[in-house]
């Protein structure tokens, strides 16, 4: 019974040590520059789809195309 509690204590201690040893390596540094996400591609794509529909209607007109 006593050896078991010693074992668990050692285990707990080693876990604490492990976690403690890991902590400084997980360091998140905030970027000094602002994060810029460019959404132009998506917007452009949406517009293309929109005008494509209108152009398709135009292309059906024999007097235009």
């Amino acid at each position: 019974m006593k050896t078991q509690s010693i074992y668990s204590l050692v285990l707990l201690f080693s876990i604490v040590l492990l976690v403690g040893a890991c902590t400084p390596t997980v360091k998140i540094e905030p970027p000094d520059k602002p994060i810029v996400i460019n959404l132009n591609v998506k917007i452009e794509h949406e517009i293309t789809i929109k005008i494509d529909k209108e152009l398709d209607i135009l292309l059906e007109d024999d007097e235009l195309f």
């Binding site: 517009i47 398709d56 135009l58 292309l59 235009l64």
Partner: protein
């Protein structure tokens, strides 16, 4: 005398048919005959220097421009952007043997 009248009549008839033909030249005919082709900027171009085709081309291009402007305004784009997109579509949709302009500016047949 009769021959003169006959000749005049013939000339009159010919003129009539010619003018009728000029009026009846449709865009599809002009494209089939290879008179006009699709340019890279979204407008029609003259492949063969022909007055009727030229008139038709000017007319069609002005109509196209109006439509491009309308779409451009609606989608807050420039007319040129819409026209370029239309050019790509028109070229893709062109029938066989119809003319289109290559990026180098030369006429090619589909």
């Amino acid at each position: 005398m009769t021959t003169r009248i006959m000749a005049l009549l013939l000339a009159f008839c010919m003129a009539l048919t010619l003018s009728f033909n000029a009026y009846a030249l449709t865009l599809q005919q002009a494209k089939n005959q290879g008179l006009v082709g699709e340019k890279t900027n979204g407008y029609l171009g003259l492949v063969v220097n022909n007055n009727d085709a030229k008139t038709l081309m000017t007319e069609v291009n002005s109509k196209r421009k109006l439509h491009y402007q309308k779409i451009a305004k609606k989608n807050k784009l420039s007319t040129e952007d819409v026209a370029l997109r239309a050019a790509k579509k028109a070229m893709a949709a062109a029938d066989k043997d119809h003319f289109y302009q290559t990026p180098q500016g030369k006429w090619a047949q589909k």
